[in-house]
Symmetry: C2
Subunit: 244 residues, 2 copies
């Protein structure tokens, strides 16, 4: 019999409704006693709200923002995440400050900071989004997760190698420095792989500790990815270039 149990995920209810093309389903508790009826339109509402919420959290605001006309409300919704972004950006500045003294030798590394950060960030956010979508849609079994994790690792390695190779080759051709090309390409590849893994694992960790996994999708994952990327990029590149 097609029925919904109390505690079933939204995504599973939506899938049931779509598979059977019913307009409503009986809801039963664990003892199979009827406790109510859920209609397609209320599921529709819930699915819409969940999607709006995920989208809003990815970009660092709240879904309330679409509904409001008040500028004060918009600012209040965005401010907490804005402060997270500012804090992580200032940490990045302090981190880069350590390299300021021997800047002349590594000036060229600074030129590639935007591209290295940008690609690492986007891989991290993609990993987080895939993990969150799978959690929200109720696709998660341990076996599935293991498989998805493995897939994300491979995808991260491929993306890392593609980006690292293109950017490293560009750097070599432009700056006529093969050590730079190798250091840049290698460190970028590693940073991208790590970001993909952080992005994928952070929402699962949040889910494990009963924190809304969507929170792990936006400014927070960007902050962590940025910091690890700068450490990996400058750490490896300096070590390689110091040998020249």
């Amino acid at each position: 019999m097609v029925q919904v149990e109390t505690g079933m995920s939204q995504g599973d209810v939506a899938k049931l409704l779509q598979r059977h093309r019913y307009l409503g389903l009986p809801v039963v508790d664990q003892a199979q006693r009827l406790v109510g009826v859920i209609s397609a339109d209320s599921v529709l509402e819930a699915v819409e709200e969940k999607a709006a919420d995920t989208i809003a959290k990815i970009v660092g605001t709240s879904s309330e923002e679409v509904k409001t006309r008040s500028i004060a409300v918009v600012m209040r919704l965005r401010l907490p995440w804005l402060l997270v972004s500012i804090a992580s950006g200032l940490l990045c500045a302090l981190l880069l400050g350590f390299f300021q003294d021997n800047l002349q030798t590594i000036a060229v590394l600074f030129l590639f900071v935007p591209v290295v950060l940008g690609l690492s960030e986007s891989t991290g956010v993609q990993g987080a989004t895939i993990a969150i979508r799978n959690i929200t849609l109720g696709h998660v079994s341990i076996k599935d997760l293991g498989r998805l994790f493995f897939r994300e690792v491979i995808v991260g390695v491929f993306i890392g190698i593609v980006c690292g190779t293109i950017v490293g080759t560009f750097a070599y051709l432009w700056q006529k420095n093969n050590l730079l090309g190798a250091a840049l390409g290698g460190s970028m590849t590693l940073a991208i792989i790590i970001s993909g893994l952080i992005g994928f694992l952070l929402p699962l960790l949040f889910q494990r500790f009963k924190i809304d996994p969507a929170i792990a999708s936006g400014p927070l994952v960007l902050a962590i990815c940025d910091l690890q990327t700068l450490v990996v990029y400058f750490g490896i590149s300096l070590a390689v270039l110091a040998k020249s």
Copy 2:
């Protein structure tokens, strides 16, 4: 009478269903002739797909990615956007290359590149998301858009001032250079305001030319925001610091 006209947006149909709590609605053409029936479950499916599509495009992939297990498919879906990100990142590197020669005097500006880019990007993506959500949910009338545009300008100014003030003050206290603090704060404020506007206007422009506005949400808006931010940031900061 509650009915759906052919050509009505998905969002409007969903709103009608929710407002009246009906499980289905008659669909009529412009001459008010009945052409069919739309059920809540098919609207549910459409709404889910649209949301998945928007989320995927924001992060630079396609909603097909959640369904597939194939690594080759994932790579094929992400690669076009990855190449956009790489191209814009390399343009950023070339742009920064112009400042490489007088690096010693402006080394300190490079330290703040991650925080300036990060905040400008997130404001741009937020603007794009708000615009796309409003287009998707069918909220768009010219008057509404004008009001939203005005709101985004004000929000951008506020966010710009908050970020510019905090980061500028931090730079001043850290580097003991009040000109740097002022230049950084001012240029950052301006760059953030511009990014917010670009983010908001790009999806509307795409919509106008019948291109899927969601495409304007992800890597494309990031690329444009990054480039304008570096030009504004280095342009203004160098002009101010050159006077010292």
